[in-house]
Symmetry: C2
Subunit: 502 residues, 2 copies
Amino acid sequence: MQQTLNAEKNTAAANIDGVMQNALYAFNQYKKFSSAKRAAFLETIADEIEKLREQLVPLASEETNLPLARLNGEISRTTGQLTMFAALIKEGSWVEASIDTADANRTPPKPDIRKMLVPVGPVVVFGASNFPFAFSTAGGDTASVLASGSSVVIKAHPAHPETSALVFSAMQKAIAKTGIPQHTVQHVTDTSNDAGKALVIHPHTKGVGFTGSFAGGKALVEYARQREIPIPVFAEMGSINPVVFYPDTLSKNAEALAAQYAASITLGVGQFCTNPGLLLGIKSKGFDNFLSALGKEITKVQPQKMLHSGICFSYKNGLSEMLEQQGLQVVAQSSTDANDNEAVALVASVDAKAFLSNKHFTEEVFGPYSLAIICDDAAQLKQCLQSLNGQLTSGIMATEKDVADYTDVIEWQHTLAGRILLNNAPTGVEVCASMVHGGPYPATTDARFTSVGTTAIKRWVRPIALQNFFDAMLPDELKNDNPLGILRLIDNVYTRDAVRKA
Amino acid sequence: MQQTLNAEKNTAAANIDGVMQNALYAFNQYKKFSSAKRAAFLETIADEIEKLREQLVPLASEETNLPLARLNGEISRTTGQLTMFAALIKEGSWVEASIDTADANRTPPKPDIRKMLVPVGPVVVFGASNFPFAFSTAGGDTASVLASGSSVVIKAHPAHPETSALVFSAMQKAIAKTGIPQHTVQHVTDTSNDAGKALVIHPHTKGVGFTGSFAGGKALVEYARQREIPIPVFAEMGSINPVVFYPDTLSKNAEALAAQYAASITLGVGQFCTNPGLLLGIKSKGFDNFLSALGKEITKVQPQKMLHSGICFSYKNGLSEMLEQQGLQVVAQSSTDANDNEAVALVASVDAKAFLSNKHFTEEVFGPYSLAIICDDAAQLKQCLQSLNGQLTSGIMATEKDVADYTDVIEWQHTLAGRILLNNAPTGVEVCASMVHGGPYPATTDARFTSVGTTAIKRWVRPIALQNFFDAMLPDELKNDNPLGILRLIDNVYTRDAVRKA
């Protein structure tokens, strides 16, 4: 038996070696393609996915239990991301071109130095279970890698293998149509841990993108630590997304807030990394009213199927462990007539003292669950926030009066997360230039980057400086006459002008 | 004895805990200071250092054996870096402000999201032995941390403790004069490894900057791996800075190249991270002439004192180990009448076959030593380059004809380093916006950042997104009317305009 296992392990490693050799070969061709050609490739992937929409939506629904409307929206989000990155690289200024011109008269003479961002090499992307399109095969990680000029190896998620294969077929058609090197995109369907490990530790791998659980992300980081040459692993992991409900808004808007948050907690059966898992407030009539109204809303929610039985099993386990913690009280739950793989929505509460004495309350329970923390005063509220780990989001539900009254607590909320929201629910991650879908560890492995929005491309590049080059040797981005018309920093001034000849 | 050691260890850890508590307290005040005030602080540090120039130069020369002229120049470089960062933050656009405005008519409604870079928190900077000013106490790392808005803890280098203390006194004067929180800059003089470790693993430490040996950088990375919450360690370590001499330029400029490189190899007794340690060429009359002329120049060099006895000891050891390697031939060396702590300059050569079969040849020997690699042809030259680890610099000595003839090899040179130079020697690192003083591992721990130039500030920040904020709550950088007049990306357009009201 051991022999068979070893043989399988060796096969996985050997296969992955072939994949990564191909990825490096493709990278060395693909990186020379112009931004315009790379953009056309991304747009063609979007077109080919659009053509398969009628097949993809029911197939993904069968594999993930997600409703058709949501999946239709997610396909649009996915093609939108592809065209967004195409637009970004067509415009071209994202490379942060910078030019310091020579000065022969200075002592010592000043050389000509020009800098820009270049792709690092093959990247491995691990698909997510909860977004079969937008964070999987041709999702944001893949789109940002291809936009940057690197090749990509996609590890298909075992929870939606057919969907992943069909999306990959669309990418293959786009490769053929646009004359992109064949192995610029590869699809690994071996779902073993060995294959995942072999991908992360392979010397040709220059970066890893992952969206999923803390355990999964941590495992990839540990694999990467075994490498001789380190690489960045961008893992977007767990978050309980604390939301603070301040007194003045609670006194005025308790019912509306309850409706807004009942919807956010149960959206997509709570299967979002931005699901609001912690609701903090100061003991008051307003907070009581909010929790009571929230309870009423939650009771009305119909149980819904989760992504797959493993996730539902984890949710039920996590929930029952949580319910055993001292001091926790159930505020409300949806119908308990849940069928197989269906999740019961549940909101509980605990007083701040009990919360502060038991780290278990800060654990993520992935699903439609949220915990309210009842604090005695602002000092205790701040103490609760200070006890939290890094988060993706930090919510402020407040009036202008609250903002003036609680500056100190609100300031602390800024340090907690990558995105801070005022009077919005955290679910719903806008795909745009200003988005930060990231945050301090353990929400992600690197708070300096985002996995959503245009700047997600910055994960797969490094700067190089070219000193004293002949103009003809320079990439278009750095040539004197600025043929791409991009924004550049020339001698510390931002401009789209050409370099003035001395 | 064991007990005494443990007691010392505990004292170090306890002291460091106090230092880091103070650093966090100061950070929480200092980060609220405006850019203008931070800039004035940096400029005042520069002024106070300038006032001490007459004391600093001889003191540093006594501690480091570096000549007065060099140290005078290095003080100017240091004050120049401080005022450069002051100018950067006064201009203000470095925060990468980005605004996506709301659209209530979209389905679903689009929220207002605004992003900028913010400081991460207290940073620990380890001074370098070879730059007592520019890469030490008030050097580039410290200046970039203070510009970013974080507090800094400086670990003084044991090779120049008095110089470090005097520079720190200048910073303290600047703190008092500009009303900056007292512990924004702290100076740790405990030179034990325990103190260094305690600084890196302390939970309040959010980043580490280091310039030095591979062993030193690696140790800090290993400490950081013991943390619960990971932080980035930016270590700029070893590099042998390969330079390729192409045939056409060798046939025309052998003597001039020899003079240029003899100067570069022996500059500052070879004690630069950018010292050209590897000279590659294809076997030819031109390369022979170059090596013979280089040998003549090296013979003329007078032995000079190295920074301290430990470095000189390492150089002599490294050199004698290198000289024992099979296939190595000495081309030339300077006078062997070297006194204590003086280094003999030496150039050796080896054929590519021997080089490729022995990894030892790629080891850095820190000092005025360089190894020429004699290749049979372009294919073997490329093979030699491919056998190298990541580097700070990669040199191309070539005519336009060479550039046309050797595109493939030159392209490979781009992947090797953070800075690629044409017909310049790698020593001399210009302090400017376009500089990349960095490169793939093991030249540094993170090829995505530079430790010299304005973008060095990017090591100490992370982006945050603020969603749906009241205008009055936003930092000035993101307010509608753009009070700082900085360049911002508004709805994907770069502009200094205000946000147009809907």
